[in-house]
Symmetry: C2
Subunit: 356 residues, 2 copies
Amino acid sequence: MADTLRIVLSDSKKEKPQANALGFGKYFTDHMFVMDYVIDKGWYDPRIIPFQNISLHPAAKVFHYGQTIFEGLKAYRTSDNRTLLFRPRKNLERLNLSNQRLCIPPVDETMVLEALKELIKIDEEWIPASEGTSLYIRPFVIATEPDLGVSPSTQYKLMIILSPVGAYYAEGVHPVKIYVENQYVRAVRGGTGAAKTAGNYASGLAAQEVAGGKGYAQVLWLDGVENKYVEEVGSMNVFFKINGEVVTPALNGSILNGVTRDSVIQLLKHLNVPVVERSISIDEVQSAYDNGVLEEAFGTGTAAVISPIGELNWRDRQMVINDGRIGEVAQQLYDQLTGIQTGRLDDPFGWTVEVK
Amino acid sequence: MADTLRIVLSDSKKEKPQANALGFGKYFTDHMFVMDYVIDKGWYDPRIIPFQNISLHPAAKVFHYGQTIFEGLKAYRTSDNRTLLFRPRKNLERLNLSNQRLCIPPVDETMVLEALKELIKIDEEWIPASEGTSLYIRPFVIATEPDLGVSPSTQYKLMIILSPVGAYYAEGVHPVKIYVENQYVRAVRGGTGAAKTAGNYASGLAAQEVAGGKGYAQVLWLDGVENKYVEEVGSMNVFFKINGEVVTPALNGSILNGVTRDSVIQLLKHLNVPVVERSISIDEVQSAYDNGVLEEAFGTGTAAVISPIGELNWRDRQMVINDGRIGEVAQQLYDQLTGIQTGRLDDPFGWTVEVK
Ligand SMILES: Cc1ncc(COP(=O)(O)O)c(C=O)c1O
Ligand SMILES: Cc1ncc(COP(=O)(O)O)c(C=O)c1O
């Protein structure tokens, strides 16, 4: 780990896509960060190299036993052309928590953060500037040992790739329709739900396909034990405003500890909006709706920041929330968070880290 | 899919390892089967090529969202030098069931079986001959589309790799010690437990590490909902002989439909040993033990065929089964199954398929 960062620059530069064609995770920059691990030696040879394919043995454990984790965070270009990262330390801490759950050796968070900054500086021109765009950062670790035994790998690769991403909401923030899933389960107590690992997402694809076919943007997951308590929405944490109080599921071991979730909780406290983390059942959401006190619902995550929920479908009963319009609190959180992230607003929490 | 099989032979042959050095899944033969899929075109270009690394885009969905499935079966060399596959159709059916759960397009089972036979013929010299050895066959499908959106891939690769494997029991079949897991969960109703997909195995690594550290070979998984009903043992289905009757957990959607499990059930019926598929709680196993009627316990799977359980540890209570020796039924099943698989015994069920 004492290795110094090695840098090999690309001979050529790819053409950059138009801001309105970006989408999410479709284009990648000219360079990537790679670091290898082998047991007895530890992590070694951290390097920034031209963006390229990975060559792996077909028996690499990642293909067979899913020993892999990832992270997702963003860099923003400010109006005065600086580059800001949003709470990158939180993502690196979570990366190591995911590593631990998946029996992957920890990485040096400080060293990886420095390497990430270096990578971003090299590919700085790729950070899009127009409203709502950003540079999505995807660190991930894969088990590379070529061995079909079901046991932790003795070899790994950590990579960081960068993708310029478009505005999540092309025409202003708009609420989405969400399907409350009651057949498929994403995660369960004792499982891997609190880690950011591939299997959690694989497991959700089928439910998403079904919900998508019915016209819903995402599914809301209930807990795996009782099929009753609200967990998350797609790749977002979820919040409800009920009778003036904002409620979000507590970190119970089967949901992800979202960085946006944590930021929203802190912001709400700062704004003097009552907020509580506790378990909340879908029946409670339904009866709040029936009683006319389900005032808002929204998801939180790095991709969309705040994603208002305009409609929930639970067992074929529709709950149209706030007339299908974005709520006041959701709008305020969206404005504040994106304001801080892009340097438009003050950052009283010290969340942003400048890349320079 | 109308494509004919393309064959590119390797210029050179690797050295074959000694039979006693084989182990499991460490060595691979000279060739592999590959077939690609792209939406709108379907599966195309089935080919046998020299065994080689795979080159993938770092954003290939398999790395991030675990959209991948696999299979495991074996080819055996008979004493008169023929090659037998054991129930390969069952594995290909299961491959397509796993595909379905993971939103992967189905493959043509007949075509893949024919390609597999061709591959085995080409690498026939790799099938080890000594007692207990075999050629392990690992078909797997990975999502290859370079895109970070959480949705089913539009591109896939199916591969089959072959690995000569050693005798599972170097010194005769011997019972193993198993730890009943009551913290970690492998799978849950509504999850992916019935599919052979990477995430299920990733999720189990941590529990295995803990159990291994305490001197146990594998963990026995309980159900994810009540943490009470017996599911599977490591990568095996599990059977108990209680008071003359053999009991195995019913296929409840969270355990794998093992080919060995199915064969064992059929064999037991054939041998007039009472056998029943139903849910069985760990409390029931414990009280059978306390009452002196837990006569045998064993796991079933392609790797070990039959793996007798000599000791179960549940919440720090030890159950030593049949004095830690292999039971009569387990021994009989092992002899019969391996006899059929290797052509030593008649095959009244028509389970074996000759490669010629
Ligand atoms: C399952 C899941 N829940 C919640 C989140 C939100 O986490 P964050 O706010 O850190 O992006 C994500 C990731 O984006 C996720 O994948
Ligand atoms: C989780 C799991 N259960 C059971 C089995 C046994 O299945 P089979 O008898 O088809 O090998 C396997 C695979 O080998 C497995 O991975």
